[in-house]
Subunit: 217 residues, 2 copies
DNA sequence: AGTCAAGCTATCGTATACAAGATTGATGTT
DNA sequence: AACATCAATCTTGTATACGATAGCTTGACT
C-alpha cells in the first residue's frame, strides 16, 4: 500500500514539522533534504506535494517551500471545527455504539486514570487519543471517522499544549466519564454537547494556549 | 499563485474525472496523458499527487493510478457529513451574518428562482452553489469554510444528480427561503436543522440517487 | 552618496534517461 | 490439452541534466 520512498519521506517530514524540527516560516531546501535522505530531488518534491495537500507547507511559485505558519486565529478556528466534528461523531455514536465499544471506552478511561495517578503524561496522551478515536469509529461513518482523524492529527501538537494547562487532565478525565455515560444512555444530544465543550477551547484558555504557542517558538 | 503546468493539469484531470470522461476504476496512463497535454510525465505525476490527496484517484504501488470508485455507502456517508458541516456553518452564520450578506443571499435566491422559471438548470445550479458558499463564508470561520468548500466540490457531480429528481428544485428553493428567514432571525438552532435537512439525502431519496447512479453507468 | 538597472547566481520546474518490478504471453512439460 | 515457469515488454519509480525565472549584488549614473 505504501508508495515506497516518497511516502516514507512525506511521513518523516510531517513528523519533523509537527515535532518542531522545522520552525514555522522556515524554508525547506530540496537539495539539502535530498542529500539528507540519500535520494534525488524527485521523491522530495513528491513528498512536498503531499504535505501541501495536507496543509502543512506552502509552495511559492519560484521561491521555494515554507512551513506554514499557523496563526492564533486559524488555530482557534481549527479547534472550533474539531469541537463540532467531535460533537457530530458523538451524536452518531450515541445512536450506533456497540456494547463492546463501550467496554473499550471504559478500559481506555481506566488506563487514562492510571496514567494520571502515575503522572505518566505520555501514557495519558496516548490513551486519551485512543478514547477519541474509538468515538470517531463508533460514529459508524467511516468517511467522518477519517476526517476526524485527519484534523485530530493536525491539532495533535497543540492539543498537547492545551492539556498542559494546570488541572486540565483531571477535569478532562471527569468529562470523559460523563461522555461515556451519555453514550451508554444513548443520549445523543447530551453526548454531542459534552464532546463539543470538551474539545472547545474558550475564554481565558485561549490566552494560555497562545502564550504556550509563543513559548514553544 | 498557480504553480504553472502541474496545477493546470490537475485541474483539467479533476474536471474530466468529475465529468465522467474517465469512468470509475479506469486506469490513467501517464504516458498517454503526457502526450495528450504535450508535456513530459513529471507534471502528470505531480498532478496525480494532488488528485490522490483530493481522494479522486488511487495509486497502487507499481500498478498505476485508478479512478476511485465511490460506492453507495461512502456516498451516503459523505452526504451525511456534508449535511452536518452545513448545519455547523448555518449555526455559526446565524450568529455572525452581516446585513450585506443577507442581501446577497436574497439576490442569489432571486436569481435561482428566475433560473427555475426559465428552466435553466445550469443557471440554477450555479446560483445554488453561490447560495451555499455564501453561508460557508458567513460562518466567520475560514478554516471551516475551506473544509466545506472542499467537500462540496467533491460531492458536486452527485449533488447535480440529486437536483434532477422531479420537483426537487422547487422544494429546494422553498427551503432556501426558510433558511434565509432563520438566518435573518438569528435563530441558529433552527438554521442548523434546516440546513441539515436540506442537504441530507434520506429515506427513499437514496434509492433514487443510487438508481440514477446505476443508470448513468 | 543613493538609486536604478543589468547581469549573475541559485534554485525551481520540466524533460529525459535509466532501473526495477509486474504482467502477460509463449513454450515446455506433465 | 492444461498448467506452470520463464522471459520479454510495458509501466512505474528514481536520478540526473537542462532551461527558465526570480532575487541579489554590483556598477554606473544622477
Amino acid at each position: 500500500m505504501d508508495r515506497s520512498r516518497s511516502d516514507l519521506i512525506a511521513e518523516s517530514l510531517e513528523d519533523q514539522i509537527l515535532r518542531g524540527r522545522f520552525g514555522p516560516g522556515m524554508r525547506l531546501d530540496e537539495t539539502k533534504l535530498a542529500e539528507e535522505h540519500g535520494v534525488s530531488r524527485t521523491p522530495i518534491r513528491e513528498a512536498f506535494q503531499k504535505l501541501t495537500a495536507a496543509g502543512l507547507i506552502e509552495q511559492h511559485p519560484r521561491r521555494g517551500v515554507f512551513v506554514r505558519e499557523i496563526g492564533a486565529v486559524e488555530l482557534i478556528e481549527m479547534f472550533e471545527v474539531m469541537a463540532e466534528i467531535e460533537a457530530i461523531c458523538g451524536r452518531l455514536a450515541a445512536l450506533r455504539i456497540t456494547d463492546a465499544a463501550l467496554a473499550e471506552l471504559d478500559a481506555a478511561n481506566d488506563r487514562c486514570h492510571a496514567a494520571l495517578e502515575a503522572d505518566e503524561s505520555d501514557d495519558y496522551y496516548r490513551e486519551n487519543e485512543v478514547f477519541h478515536h474509538l468515538i470517531y469509529a463508533q460514529s459508524g461513518n467511516r468517511f467522518l471517522c477519517a476526517e476526524a482523524e485527519r484534523l485530530h492529527r493536525r491539532l495533535k501538537p497543540f492539543r498537547r499544549l492545551q492539556l498542559q494547562l494546570r488541572g486540565r487532565m483531571t477535569q478532562s478525565m471527569a468529562e470523559h466519564r460523563d461522555i461515556v455515560l451519555a453514550l451508554r444512555a444513548g443520549d445523543s444530544d447530551r453526548c454531542a454537547r459534552l464532546l463539543r465543550d470538551h474539545v472547545a477551547v474558550q475564554g481565558e484558555k485561549f490566552h494560555h494556549l497562545i502564550a504556550g504557542l509563543r513559548a514553544a517558538e
